[in-house]
């Protein structure tokens, strides 16, 4: 069937198979490969995107469910080459290693800060509990979110 989804501010109309996930459509049809696939069962958070402003696992949402909705992916966070404060903080604190979990991590952090601009360390942990990273000890990721919060997330 045909769906219309606003992705990073641009309306996109395209045909999808009813069993295809939002993740699949983003990566394979819309050429938005910044959103990553790992577990494909909603445990790792690598595919986190914003759906109408809320963080969701794009592997657990069907593309047809997003008809008429608004999606923001990692590619939609920076504007004109200017990094979002959360992205900037991840770079500065050394929170990025291999980077595969990072798009999902940053989108989840962005959502956390939009709903709670000054989270405590425990609230950061709660907010990112659904995003797995295998490289880091997570502490620099916490530092990054704290730095972004301190600067105001813009």
């Amino acid at each position: 069937m045909t769906v219309s989804i606003t992705v990073n501010g641009t309306a996109r109309t395209f045909d999808v198979q009813t069993h295809h996930t939002l993740l699949r459509s983003l990566r394979d049809q819309l050429n938005r490969s910044g959103t990553k696939e790992c577990c494909a069962e909603g445990e790792c958070g690598a595919c986190t995107v914003l759906l109408n402003g809320r963080a969701v696992n794009a592997c657990l949402v069907l593309a047809v469910e997003c008809d008429g909705e608004e999606v923001v992916t990692i590619e939609g966070l920076s504007t004109n080459g200017q990094l979002d404060p959360v992205q900037q903080a991840f770079v500065e604190t050394g929170a990025v290693q291999c980077g595969f979990c990072i798009p999902g991590m940053i989108v989840a952090a962005r959502y956390l800060l939009s709903s709670n601009p000054h989270p405590s360390e425990n609230e950061i942990k709660e907010g990112l509990a659904g995003n797995l990273c295998r490289c880091a000890g997570y502490s620099r990721i916490i530092d990054a979110v704290e730095l972004a919060a301190k600067r105001g997330q813009g």
């Binding site: 990553k36 445990e43 920076s78 050394g94 291999c98 990072i102 797995l132 990273c133 000890g137």
Partner: protein, 733 residues
């Protein structure tokens, strides 16, 4: 600003935070067909027939292949042993081993067709444990015909080794501690599952793989295809996490054959579940007998290490020999005897995994020290101090002497954890050292091209899988050439472009590729000096001006080639001495909930002896990440097999790795820098250390907190709870 020793941000960080970084699965090649592997739902089975007509008839299916379609004999491959068939032939040997492969125009068509392939099979008894592998009555995992002239061919022992010195049998000890320890089967769980592409090209074939070792993959693919190396090109995008799981070839030879056979590009992205079935860490059972004098000095170490490999050797035997060879850890012992076996089983082939077998051995040896300390009434820090060699001491008589201030690491860690402070109820502290032999025989080559405008490209075969090799190699080139970072390009990941490198493993890249880059830069500078002698007024000219004055309108460049490595020593049990020792000390304080058995790590301290941290943030982040990975196999991770050899907790729902809520409440990383390493500016390698010593430190702390003794990892709440509640038992099953 001095760029060496400066924590400049990671190269590639911006691409990674914006989603622009292209990982293997993000690369699209025109006209690519999609590949899906088909296997049977058990580990060991005789393949009776493959019925593929229904599948082959589906729209979009372009091919369906079994071993019968491959050249005969079926091509086999492997980095050391040429034992793994491209597709299972006759029988399957582990759960998930591909029996058939579907190639189709779309991913959906490939998946649908794979579901329609019907494999008739007869399930056979599977060898799934150390005991079963050692039992002479068990079925043979590997066809004895593949092991000509091998006296062990009729057994499930792939190889065995005897290492050591002195005479353990005649050594007199006041106390002998003797125990069995077990270490679980765990999986790498890089967040990026494996993904591969292959395509015919004008010279032969190109394979895209997020491999850590492009030149190993090139050699193995070429051998499997009977191609000269020159006709195989490997493109290796930066891996989304490696940890050893992307080190050695997986299904790339099959992909290369498929691309050539169907004459089109082919693409395969494994699911996380398939990735679990593609690579894992060897489990191990270690029997340790350690003799001590009454003042806590180690008299002898007598270790029997049985590592359970999978159905094919991969690099598994090397893991066992290397870890066992230095299993005694960083301690002096007058006598040592290590008997090690690499055992085959009907399980996923085990491969390299951060620490390369040492975490398994260290769990046993360090826990032995803790028990001896308690029995002899000696503090756990003090007993280590009494056994640690001083710098320059040959603690392992056949290898590189102690090359760092290991006692300093111990003291630093003890102080940072407030070792002697009183403990609150249900709390405990533990400390442990870990020592890993680094790269033995290996080689790295780097090419530095100084371009006409004075900017430079550094070409090297290292893979940046998150450790930050690009950044460190750029820092080295910037220092050596006197260039600003934005004038340097680091080029990696294409065997058509970069020169030979043995591997990105064994914490070796900073040391060896770093030295190669330095030598390449020196050769560039030497040529510039020669050039300056022929150019009038060259004094004080910038390199760019000098190049322009020298070449004039024809333009040109200066190329320097550098090589570094350590030579192969035929007489050495490992083929070479350790280039340096990677030493880590871990100390921690934990709390165990007496009602649930749950462990909270209040603080974990890491101290590593790194020689020189070229980028301190990156080194610390490596140590922290490795430690958290170690917390995984210490507290929660374990692949559980069913009787049929299938992995019961296949996937992220049932196999848990540490999340942000599982990490220590405080995590501190300290570096010891005495510029005493063989690498650039005195650097030693780093990055695996955290995994080496975490288990025994946490284990000791849990034992103290809960008043128990556990010797089987992982130390799950259930095991801790049972040990507390079943008094009198010291060993949990």
């Amino acid at each position: 600003m001095d760029i060496i020793g400066s924590s400049i941000p990671r190269l590639g960080a911006v691409e990674r935070v914006t989603g622009a970084q292209q990982y293997a699965a993000d690369i699209r090649v025109e006209n690519a067909l999609h590949v899906k592997l088909v296997s049977v739902p058990c580990a060991h089975a005789r393949i009776l027939a493959v019925h593929s007509n229904d599948a082959a008839g589906l729209p979009g299916v372009r091919g369906l292949f079994t071993a019968a379609d491959l050249p005969h004999p079926v091509p086999r491959y492997g980095p050391v042993y040429t034992d793994r068939p491209m597709l299972a032939t006759g029988e399957t040997k582990f759960s998930g081993e591909p029996v058939a492969v579907v190639v189709a125009e779309t991913e959906d068509a490939a998946k649908s067709a794979a579901r329609l392939v019907r494999i008739e099979f007869e399930e056979l008894p599977a060898v799934l444990s150390v005991d079963a592998a050692l039992n002479a009555q068990s079925p043979l995992v590997q066809d004895a015909a593949l092991r000509p002239n091998d006296p062990l061919a009729g057994t499930n022992t792939l190889r065995e080794w005897q290492f050591g010195w002195g005479n353990v049998d005649e050594a007199a000890a006041d106390l002998v501690v003797e125990n069995d320890y077990s270490f679980p089967m765990v999986t790498h769980f890089a967040i990026e599952p494996h993904a591969f592409l292959a395509a015919p090209d004008a010279n032969g074939v190109t394979v895209w793989s997020p491999t850590q070792h492009p030149y190993v993959l090139q050699r193995v693919v070429a051998a499997a295809l009977h191609f000269p190396i020159a006709r195989v090109r490997i493109i290796a995008p930066d891996p989304g996490g490696g940890f050893g799981g992307k080190g050695w070839p997986k299904v790339e030879p099959l992909m290369a054959w498929l691309a050539l056979h169907v004459g089109r590009p082919v693409r395969l992205v494994l699911s996380l579940e398939e990735t679990f079935q593609a690579a894992r860490r060897a489990s191990a059972r270690i029997h340790a007998r350690t003799g001590f004098s009454s003042d806590g000095r180690i008299v002898f170490q007598d270790i029997e290490a049985n590592f359970l490999l999978g159905a094919y050797a991969d690099i598994g035997a090397r893991v066992v020999s290397k870890a066992s060879y230095s299993a005694c850890g960083p301690y002096r012992a007058a006598h040592a005897r290590i008997a090690a076996r690499a055992l085959l089983s009907h399980t996923t082939p085990s491969t390299a995994f951060r620490g390369f077998g040492t975490p398994q051995a260290s769990w046993a040896v360090e826990s032995q020290l803790n028990q001896a300390a308690a029995t002899l009434g000696i503090d756990a820090v003090e007993i280590r101090r009494r056994n640690l060699p001083a710098r320059g001491e040959a603690f392992n008589p056949n290898d590189t002497p102690a090359d760092g201030e290991w006692n300093t690491a111990l003291t630093k860690a003890a102080n940072a954890i407030a070792w002697s402070a009183p403990l609150a109820p249900n709390r405990g502290r533990g400390i442990s050292l870990g020592l890993k032999s680094s790269s033995t025989a290996s080689r790295s080559v780097a090419i530095v091209r100084l371009h006409f405008d004075g900017s430079a490209s550094v070409l090297c075969g290292t893979s940046d899988m998150g450790q930050g090799a690009r950044t460190v190699l750029m820092q080295i080139a910037a220092e050596e050439l006197g260039l600003s970072p934005d004038r340097i390009a680091i080029v990696m990941g294409d065997t058509a472009v970069v020169p030979f490198d043995s591997s990105t493993s064994a914490s070796r890249s900073t040391v060896f590729m770093g030295n190669a880059v330095i030598e390449a830069c020196e050769r560039v500078k030497m040529q510039l000096r020669q050039m300056a002698q022929t150019v009038p007024g060259a004094d004080g000219m910038s390199p760019a001006d000098l190049l322009q004055a020298h070449f004039g309108p024809t333009r040109g460049e200066v190329i320097g080639i550098g090589e570094a490595g350590n030579a192969y020593e035929p007489g050495h049990p490992l083929g070479g001495r350790a280039a340096f020792w990677e030493l880590m000390c871990v100390a921690c304080e934990v709390e165990v909930d007496p009602e649930t058995g749950e462990t909270t790590i209040h603080k974990l301290v890491l101290v590593s002896d790194v020689g020189k941290a070229l980028n301190p943030h990156q080194v610390e982040a490596q140590d922290e990440g490795a430690a958290v990975m170690g917390i995984g196999h210490t507290l929660m991770e374990q692949l559980v097999l069913g009787a049929d050899g299938r992995i019961l907790n296949l996937g992220s729902l049932d196999y848990r790795i540490p999340s942000i809520k599982d990490v220590p409440l405080e995590l501190e990383s300290h570096l010891i820098e005495n510029a005493d390493g063989p690498g650039p500016y005195g650097a030693k390698g780093a990055g695996e250390g955290g995994t080496l010593a975490v288990s025994a430190a946490i284990g000791a702390a849990i034992n103290q907190a809960a008043g128990i003794t556990l010797r089987d990892l992982p130390l799950t709440p259930e095991r801790i709870w049972r040990a507390r509640n079943e008094k009198g038992r010291t060993r949990n099953e």
